[in-house]
């Protein structure tokens, strides 16, 4: 069970990503006391994917991030991340890939210990992206 939960919600626009990074960075710095640059990067990549690939969902046009700290673990939940049918298309980039893009999923996979999807309880048919990282010896 998380011991601390934080929540940030901003419009799903590229101009808002900086604010999310600043918020999450300050939360992690205050409560984890470690260099959290990579964690902020992983979350930012996930949020950028929401902006880049979002499809109109009635009543939901935001990036919705929940941060859970507890038991030596940082967990991010990004709500309404994708439709269930889109999950098979979200996979790590092949390093031999010739495309200039597609690094975001690779970075997330390199940084986080667990990348998973769960049904979004607030949005039927939509999935929450769950990113989890164990903090060795850190305190949350």
């Amino acid at each position: 069970m998380p011991t601390s939960v934080f929540h940030v919600q901003v419009p799903a626009e590229a101009t808002c990503l900086r604010a999310v990074r600043a918020f999450v960075g300050s939360v992690l710095e205050e409560h984890c006391g470690i260099d959290t640059a990579n964690l902020v990067l992983a979350l930012d990549e996930a949020c950028a994917n929401v902006v880049r690939h979002r499809v109109p969902v009635p009543g939901h046009d935001d990036i919705d991030v929940r941060i859970e700290l507890g038991g030596g673990t940082v967990r991010f939940r990004i709500g309404c991340f994708c439709a269930r049918r889109d999950m098979p298309r979200i996979r790590p980039r092949d390093p031999a890939d010739e495309r200039p893009g597609g690094f975001g999923t690779l970075l997330i996979g390199q940084i986080m210990d667990r990348v998973d999807f769960e049904p979004d309880p607030a949005m039927p048919g939509r999935m929450v992206l769950v990113l989890e990282k164990r903090l060795g010896g850190a305190r949350p």
Partner: protein
């Protein structure tokens, strides 16, 4: 504290040097791509100085890859100069240090 992207190009010994300062993210990376293309226009080598980049995301990394490939198509030299700690870390995570010929200063980290 977030730092908006600032771009400046200068000539040094026949090379164009694009000096990048500030955060490179999904919002600002298109400006970096435009600056790289402009820096390649004179036809000589282009170096991108990344010493003052406190944050770069995958869109910024993708722009650097695009720049490298654009330079290759034009048979021009393209290199990264003085990557910041964060840029180096992201290049390492993206497994691109070798592609850019950047020395990994933190092999044990």
């Amino acid at each position: 504290v977030s730092t908006p992207l600032q771009l400046r190009t200068q000539s040094e010994d026949g090379r164009q040097v694009l000096i990048v300062a500030g955060e490179v993210d999904m919002e600002s990376s298109p400006r970096l791509l435009s600056a790289i293309h402009a820096g390649l226009q004179p036809g000589g080598p282009l170096e991108v100085d990344l010493a003052d980049v406190p944050y770069i995301d995958s869109s910024g990394i993708a722009v650097l890859v695009q720049g490298l490939r654009a330079a290759g198509r034009r048979q021009q030299s393209f290199g990264l100069r003085r990557p910041s700690k964060q840029v180096l870390a992201v290049l390492r995570l993206a497994q691109l240090l070798e592609l850019f010929g950047v020395d990994d200063g933190n092999r044990n980290g």
